[in-house]
């Protein structure tokens, strides 16, 4: 071994070492709002170092292809990432994640097709990483399609889970044949990847849109694992560490999300709730919906001492967060104590609503999550519900027959006055009638959130 190769190898390993440290520090910083911004910069610096240094790998060829692929893939991702609306962020994350899974599967494919058996342990890891990466790739593509509205049906047939299990078993058998060099022909390898990709499709298709965030988070963790396994195959410590960290962090994040949505992971993967209007239990709701005018709401809020705003996905769809923040600034200037109460699943995934409010300029310290704010509703004069529905439905607390029974909700019904801004009289995402709307202290302000926001701003300005 000549000395220049040796020093290059040392440089590469040292750079990967720094990269792994930067990733972990970056993730740590990303878990607090104060340091979050710098966290992604640290991680980004790590990625840059690792990428540049990898060009120095001894014995590398195909530099032209590598550069072209980076420019094209990176360029397209840059362009799409800059353009995507904040409301569409969850499906974009799914898309980029699926690409990572696909890349891990591609590494496995290159190693396996090459056919130089590097030992059973290494090929087994390549095969396992290949399965996981492929499932994450095709599954994430379906998740993207569903959230983007490209796939509207949830395809289900009887015996689907048995079918999926058989598919998994078949993929594993083919994978074992390849890994243990019983029959590692290109045809078997191709069939193996085809089955793994198909498994991702059939696993994800039956899952409803509402459960998609949990699924995306799960695939994120799976891609991490696949990357770690391929890291073992290539003997690349940066991939092993980064992939494993994401695998375990992603698993924890998935559990937190599922818990916030009152769903177990098993439920999400193996049953078909989470679909719009699936099993609409119409519950016994008594009373009537009482409408109110924007001018009356304006006066009510202008003279309140405490207003809690409960935004839901409906607000984001109407792009009303800017108007609502303008409204809240007026109230704050009048000395009203304004807070935002965010349910964990207020957006499309936990924390999504915070991003949307941040986009409108709402400072994060005015935003409280469920545990912090629930005791405060009793002291609030007005709870303003905008485009939220199931997350404030009191039946989740007191009606055992309801499908959402047991889901943690925001106790908006405890406020002295509840104002609901809503487009029409329809039920929520789950198709369940909302008992909150029929309470004595609730008034309905019908209209698009954007328009209602403007009317309320006018009304408060008119108070003077």
């Amino acid at each position: 071994m000549d000395s220049s190769v040796f020093s290059r190898e040392t440089l590469i390993q040292a750079s990967y070492f720094v990269t792994a440290a930067l990733f972990i520090l970056g993730l740590k910083r990303m878990s607090s709002p104060v340091t979050a911004r710098s966290g992604i910069l640290w991680a980004g610096a790590g990625m840059l170092v690792a990428t540049v240094v990898s060009f120095l790998y001894p014995g590398m060829t195909n530099y032209d292809l590598i550069l072209a692929a980076i420019v094209v893939g990176g360029g397209l991702a840059w362009w799409s990432g800059k353009r995507v609306a904040m409301t569409d962020m969850p499906q974009m994350i799914a898309l980029y994640n699926g690409m990572g899974g696909g890349a891990a599967a591609a590494i496995a494919a290159v190693e396996l097709y090459r056919g130089e058996n590097p030992g059973y342990a290494t090929s087994s890891l390549a095969v396992v990483g290949g399965i996981i990466g492929s499932v994450s790739f095709s599954g994430s593509a379906i998740a993207f399609g569903k959230l983007q509205g490209l796939i509207t049906k949830s395809i289900r047939f009887s015996g689907q889970q048995v079918f999926n299990l058989l598919l998994l078993a078949a993929a594993l058998i083919l994978g074992a044949m390849v890994a243990f060099n019983l029959s590692a022909t290109p045809a078997v390898i191709t069939a193996f990847f085809a089955l793994a990709l198909l498994l991702g499709l059939t696993m994800t298709l039956p899952i409803g849109g509402a459960d998609m965030p949990v699924v995306i988070s799960l695939y994120n963790a799976l891609t991490g694992l696949a990357v770690a396994f391929e890291g073992f195959v290539l003997g690349n410590a940066a991939m092993i560490i980064a992939g494993t960290v994401v695998g375990s962090a992603g698993t924890l994040l998935t559990q937190l999300m599922a818990k916030a949505m009152n769903r177990s992971l098993g439920n999400v993967l193996f049953s078909g709730f989470g679909d719009t209007g699936g099993e609409a239990a119409t519950g016994d709701v008594t009373g009537s919906l009482k409408p109110i005018e924007a001018s009356d709401v304006g006066v009510m809020m202008a003279f309140a001492s405490k207003v809690i705003v409960v935004p839901g996905y409906g607000m984001a769809v109407a792009q009303a967060q800017h108007k609502i923040w303008e409204l809240c600034q007026l109230l704050i200037d009048r000395g009203v104590n304004v807070k935002f109460a965010i349910h964990p699943v207020a957006g499309r995934m936990p924390g999504h609503m915070n991003v949307l409010l941040a986009e409108a300029g709402v400072p994060y310290d005015l935003i409280s999550d469920l545990d912090e704010i629930n005791s405060e509703f009793e002291t609030a004069d007005v709870a303003l519900i905008i485009g939220a529905n199931d997350v404030v439905n009191p039946v989740a607390r007191n009606d055992k027959s309801s499908p959402i029974y047991g889901m943690p909700i925001l106790n908006a019904d405890k406020a002295k006055n509840v104002i609901v801004i809503k487009r029409g009289k329809g039920a929520g995402f789950s198709g369940i009638e909302n008992a909150l709307f029929y309470l004595d202290n609730t008034r309905m302000l019908y209209g698009d959130a954007q328009k209602a926001g403007s009317e309320l701003i006018q009304a408060i300005k008119a108070v003077g």
């Binding site: 990625m47 195909n62 991702a77 974009m92 890349a103 891609t223 092993i240 992603g250 924390g351």
Partner: protein
Amino acid sequence: MKSYELGLWVFMLAAFCGYEVISRVPVILHTPLMSGSNFVHGIVLVGAMVALGGAHTSLEKTIGFIGVLLAAGNAVGGYVVTERMLEMFKSSGARGKAQPAKGAH
């Protein structure tokens, strides 16, 4: 085989590390953090580069090219959207400095 044993230790420690780093994250950062961890597994790019760099047949080259393409998409896209989201997180203190008239509450 020694390197495999070492790899297993690294695997275990990294798994605990990931769990610890995330365990105290507030809900408000769940989406950006998921996006951030999505970016971090974009490190698959270096593996894909090495795989394509060592590819000889046209089949290997094709798959390797797709791999690098996808991995670059994961890394760059993950970075861009995470950075866009986190850039927006500001406290009311910071806002108050920028717009003193509206900072009072």
